[in-house]
């Protein structure tokens, strides 16, 4: 299966019922969703923490590039793959219909 093609103009956000959570008992960050609890690594946490439902994916990628002093191509690939997987699982929504399915 190939992931959906994501446009950098889309505005991704965590919909109601999906939220980031500080798991103090295990000392990890998790994404809580219906019937799911997903452990996040530092990269996943950083990406999702940037989703505010206002800024486009392009803005999110640029912010992460600056923070981690990393090239756009690398960050963009990571972000697209991660977000596309969560869109498939209905854990990230897009506020514009910028997602096309091949």
């Amino acid at each position: 299966m190939t992931g959906p093609h994501l446009s950098n103009a889309c505005i991704p956000y965590l919909p109601r019922g999906v939220r980031l959570h500080d798991d103090r008992v295990r000392g990890i960050r998790v994404l809580l969703a219906p019937e799911r609890a997903m452990q996040l690594d530092a990269v996943g946490d950083a990406i999702l923490s940037e989703l505010d439902g206002r800024r486009s994916l392009a803005d999110v990628i640029l912010t992460l590039c600056e923070r981690y002093s990393a090239p756009v191509e690398q960050i963009e690939g990571d972000v697209h793959e991660f977000i596309a997987g969560l869109i498939d699982r209905r854990m990230v929504f897009l506020s514009q219909s910028e997602v096309a399915f091949p």
Partner: protein
């Protein structure tokens, strides 16, 4: 001399105790519906024995401290408790992700608005695709119409919604319409779960057992719909045990990530665990959740893999399914330590399959409802 007792399994092997992630809170066994496959035990907890909202609040705090992330408010029908909003608020305040599992019956728009901001997600059960089927299966006239009204309110308030379709021989052929309905209701997910033949469902094996042909078609329907609805709706599918080559990992492994609190405070490793004779269960009213989780004999009995018999002990899947379902082993092999008879490597598997096939060919449509009355389809 005091000796620190290490947790050990049913054969005396030491076990490693992890952290629980999910807790099923059965708030009551009361329910207006009478579904013939209800997962509640045959012996239902009495209303007078139910934990109070205050007791639940303490349990939720203990659960969060122990590592539980998600709580499923269930029953019976949780809306049968007048203090549901108070209980949901306590779970929310404890920092838990709150999932409400309901038939919708007993919920009003006003009650749903009370839960707004307290409940993270709602799972609405589906017994059939129209009133004729749903009201027959649930044993409750008018249930389908009310459920559809509740679904509309849920959507209007904005709760994320999952439809829980329980499927069996009588309704499995309508699966495509169930998926369409979930889509029309704006669901993010639909769970399609084949009846598990324990407890009440075991009394209804002949009318409910799906045929092998139905199970194959259902698999194809699910695969097609997953492709078509990708990015719009998630489909979780639990096929019939009897048609699988290997068992499911019950509860993701006994005592590994989940626990269940019965309405009267009994703490269980799985909702059907009381069918296993010889296990002793403790009540949250007598001790703490942490102690039951770590030291409870019932929780430790089947933890890990050291207790497994052959053919499980040398099986490459032992860390995948942990020998399967203990309750199923108890029911068919009369031995809770036996390999799940669902497994193709179990000596009981041929018998299990033959019985399932015979049941699936039955013409019997008389349901034994949860309220123990025997009725036929109108």
């Amino acid at each position: 001399m005091t000796e620190q007792l290490q947790p050990h399994d049913i054969r005396g092997n030491p076990v490693r105790v992890g952290l629980p992630m999910a807790m099923l809170a059965e708030l009551t066994h009361r329910c207006p519906l009478a579904c013939p496959y209800c997962s509640n035990p045959l012996e239902l907890a009495r209303v007078s024995s139910e934990l109070t909202a205050g007791e639940w609040a303490g349990i939720f705090r203990q659960a969060a401290d122990l590592g539980v992330l998600q709580v499923h408010l269930s029953g019976g029908e949780p809306a049968s408790r007048r203090d549901l909003a108070e209980i949901a608020a306590a779970a929310h305040e404890a920092g838990l992700y709150v999932n409400l599992i309901t038939s919708g019956i007993g919920l009003t728009e006003a009650r749903l608005r009370e839960l707004d901001g307290l409940v993270d997600h709602i799972q609405l059960s589906l017994q059939g695709i129209d009133a004729e089927m749903a009201d027959w299966i649930s044993g409750y006239g008018g249930s389908f119409a009310r459920k559809m009204q509740v679904a509309e309110w849920i959507g209007a308030i904005g709760f994320p919604l999952t439809l829980n379709a329980v499927v069996h021989r009588q309704n499995l052929d309508r699966l495509p319409e169930m998926i369409d309905l979930a889509e029309r209701l704006g669901c993010r997910r639909i769970e399609v779960a084949t009846v598990q033949f324990h407890g009440w469902a075991d009394l209804n094996r002949r009318p409910l057992m799906p045929t092998l042909e139905q199970a194959k078609r259902a698999r194809a329907v699910v695969n097609e719909a997953r492709q078509r609805l990708r990015g719009r709706m998630v489909i979780d599918y639990v096929p019939a045990d009897h048609h699988a080559a290997f068992p499911k990992s019950c509860m993701g492994g006994w005592g590994s990530t989940g626990l269940n609190i019965a309405p009267d405070g009994i703490v269980l490793p799985c909702h059907a665990a009381q069918t296993i004779k010889g296990l002793e269960f403790e009540n949250i009213r007598d001790t703490t959740l942490a102690r039951i989780w770590r030291d409870g004999a019932a929780f430790n009995a089947f933890r890990g893999t050291a207790w497994l018999p052959e053919p499980c002990a040398s099986c490459e899947r032992r860390e995948v399914d942990f020998g399967g379902c203990r309750c199923q082993a108890m029911a068919m092999a009369q031995d809770p330590t036996a390999t799940d008879p669902v497994c193709s490597r179990s000596p009981f598997n041929a018998r299990l399959r033959a019985e399932a096939e015979a049941d699936s060919e039955s013409d019997d449509v008389a349901l034994v409802y949860r309220r123990m009355a025997r009725e036929t389809r109108p």
